[in-house]
Subunit: 416 residues, 2 copies
């Protein structure tokens, strides 16, 4: 028997091109999917169905956080305001060696998923070690996720022998495929300076063979090209292109230090980039040229990065920062308008993960990944424009309801 | 009979130099002032006293928002992502002409004060028109405020004849002095490009005669020197210095386009600057050289600016943005550490407003302007460092208790 949920009494932001805003709207969910959207008179709900009153707020797609390291919430605030090498070598790496194990990874992954659900993120894209444990922990929380096993040419948590790193990732992909459709496996080669060309190619080949997303940190820091032993004076993007790694199923995290040639390559290869403005600011990595990326036709998603470098998983804050950072960086208040930023955090993320047929907007037949944002508090009034309201004024604590895959995960601002 | 409030079971951040953190601490309030701070065993509370359990959170001074235009919350989200001249001339100025009157100013000032109190701001520094109405509205909410009548050489709301602008401000100062000690009057000459040198000098003379703070927007936009008719190729700061306007009772809002000569002048004159990073980013004004200001010995406070250009009054968000923005602008993750940002938002603001003997830190004898920040939610755990937690992870919605002048204004996250 079909299970229905009707969400009503709100402004529906569909994030669809042809009907972006439905005033006084409603959304009907049947089982895991959106059945219908409308305005005015409400459709009937079968006896056992649930009715959610959005209280005049905003009904919109759940947010997609396209770059996280979920277990790293255990290191939130452990070491801030430090030079990058001190932060990594004196704090994060030793803490990882000490604290990262299957149990801690599972515990802090659940913690991060709770943080994400409470703040309106319904899909996240993760990469870390012990990732099969991460994926299992994510599955228990109800979030939708891409879970990538990390690959690096050094001994790593759970992978003492680097020779086994790609094989380990392949085993992870196989294991996660059994977890069900909400959790999708992926392979994450850490970077071009911590993986040899052989590892990068083997990792990408394995991802391609399995039909899953391949991820890599690239062009995050200015001196990255010099850190890559095997490149010939190329940019990182040129190097990855030469290795045959860039296609639409490769996700580039950061892309801060990219020039116009790099952008042309990324656009030609249909390779999406995840923009992580707050992490890039906090670590002083630089400012990714996102308006130029969008102008060059590169798909851009938005991510928070891990809690060790942000220090939260708050996509509302990330949208607001993205909007404001590029305005001042370009000295142009018109770039990165509110709708562009909201698109990055919804459809942009869905496209980057290859999930845009299923999530990222509200349309009949799509998965029911839906959030309600309360607009009653003083900082959300008056509401002249819902896109502005969400990007420039909303806090993640305004998220009152979160539904993933047709299941209520946050009700009245609390975990269900 | 003395009224006592005891706040206990929290980490006390005093923001005092000699004892910045008290673990497992408590604060005893007697009437309007802090009587005592301590750790461990609790002092007795007289029968009619109130005991507030901080629930293991952070007990700290209320935040000081040193630059706002409170009534402008009525224009929140009205016009975003536009060129500055279109934003001002096609949207804000016409909306002001249409909507700004004594009633709307009072209504939206109360609204803004509620937003500020709920988000942990206990003192604000305002400038607008119909400011006596603003001050009266503020007084009803319990917030501590500096309320400055705007002075501009054009017809303005409530001041149709610009010839009367300074006289009007003087009348305002007289009227507000009757409102009681929580609301302090001030005079705000809009800028050096909208006020003649004669108006600037008259405004400053009036403020000096009354012993009140003089405020001015200065060096906010790059081409400001060219907009000032009467300067001789000077910077704005040099021009204001030549007019004799800069001293410790003049507060410069923004200070984005200042060079080292300007910083030397500001330091010599003990003139504080209010840094408004989010407004400067959103309007694409530029990035104020705050680390250089602090290095030159300039006092720096933090402000949100008005809701038309931010679009909120959230000092937690502003602290986090300040910390991250300057790291990336300087390409140095060590600048603007969490404690520096928290100091700007507390003692920095108190000093800028000439109130540092009364507010800005927790010490016996100081006014009881105190907030409690809940640290139980997932995004605040683990708590390795309270300064990092407050600046990089806390949301203003984590503020659970707000006390101003010894009176509870927010209880359990709701207006009392």
């Amino acid at each position: 028997m079909a299970s229905h949920i009707l969400i009503h009494n709100g402004t529906v932001l569909t994030m669809e091109t042809d009907r972006p805003v439905i005033e006084n709207g409603w959304v009907m969910i049947q089982n895991h999917r959106i059945q219908q959207l409308g305005t005015g008179a409400l459709p009937g709900v079968a006896g056992h169905g649930r009715v959610i009153d959005a209280g005049g707020g905003i009904i919109m797609p759940g947010l997609v956080n396209a770059h996280i390291h979920a277990p790293m919430s255990m290191f939130r605030g452990l070491a801030d305001d430090l030079p990058l090498d001190v932060w990594l070598n004196a704090h994060i790496f030793p803490a990882e060696a000490r604290q990262v194990n299957p149990d801690s990874v599972a515990r802090w992954t659940r913690h991060s998923c709770h943080e994400m659900l409470l703040s309106g993120t319904t899909t996240c894209c993760d990469g870390y070690f012990f990732e099969t444990e991460v994926a299992r922990a994510m599955a228990t929380t109800g979030i939708r996720a891409v879970a990538a096993q990390g690959v690096i040419d050094f001994p790593a948590p759970g992978v003492p022998d680097p020779q086994e790193n790609v094989r380990h990732a392949i085993d992870h992909v196989t294991a996660v495929k059994e977890l069900g459709s909400r959790i999708t496996p992926s392979i994450f080669c850490h970077s071009a300076y911590t993986c040899s060309s052989k590892t990068l190619v083997a990792g990408k080949d394995a991802a391609r063979d399995a039909g899953v997303l391949f991820q890599i940190h690239a062009a995050e820091v200015k001196h990255e090209p010099e850190m890559i032993k095997e490149n010939n004076g190329e940019s990182v993007i040129q190097y990855l292109d030469r290795l045959g790694i860039l296609d639409k199923q490769t996700l580039v995290a950061h892309g801060v230090w990219v020039d116009e040639t790099d952008l042309t390559i990324l656009a030609r290869c249909n390779t999406p980039v995840v923009h992580c403005p707050e992490s890039n600011m906090k670590l002083a990595s630089g400012i990714a040229p996102v308006p130029k990326m969008l102008g060059a036709g590169v798909q851009v998603a938005l991510g928070t990065d891990g809690c060790a470098s942000n220090n939260d998983l708050d996509m509302f804050s990330e949208m607001g920062t993205a909007a404001k950072l590029h305005k001042v960086a370009c000295m142009d208040p018109c770039v990165m308008d509110a709708k562009t930023c909201l698109t990055m955090a919804t459809m942009g993320g869905a496209r980057a993960l290859g999930m845009d047929r299923e999530i990222g907007s509200l349309a009949p037949g799509k998965k029911a990944d839906i959030i309600v944002v309360d607009t009653a508090k003083p900082h959300m009034q008056p509401m002249h424009n819902p896109f502005s309201g969400l990007v420039y004024s909303a806090k993640s604590s305004d998220v009152s309801w979160v539904i993933v895959d047709g299941i209520v995960r946050v009700a009245g601002g609390k975990l269900a």
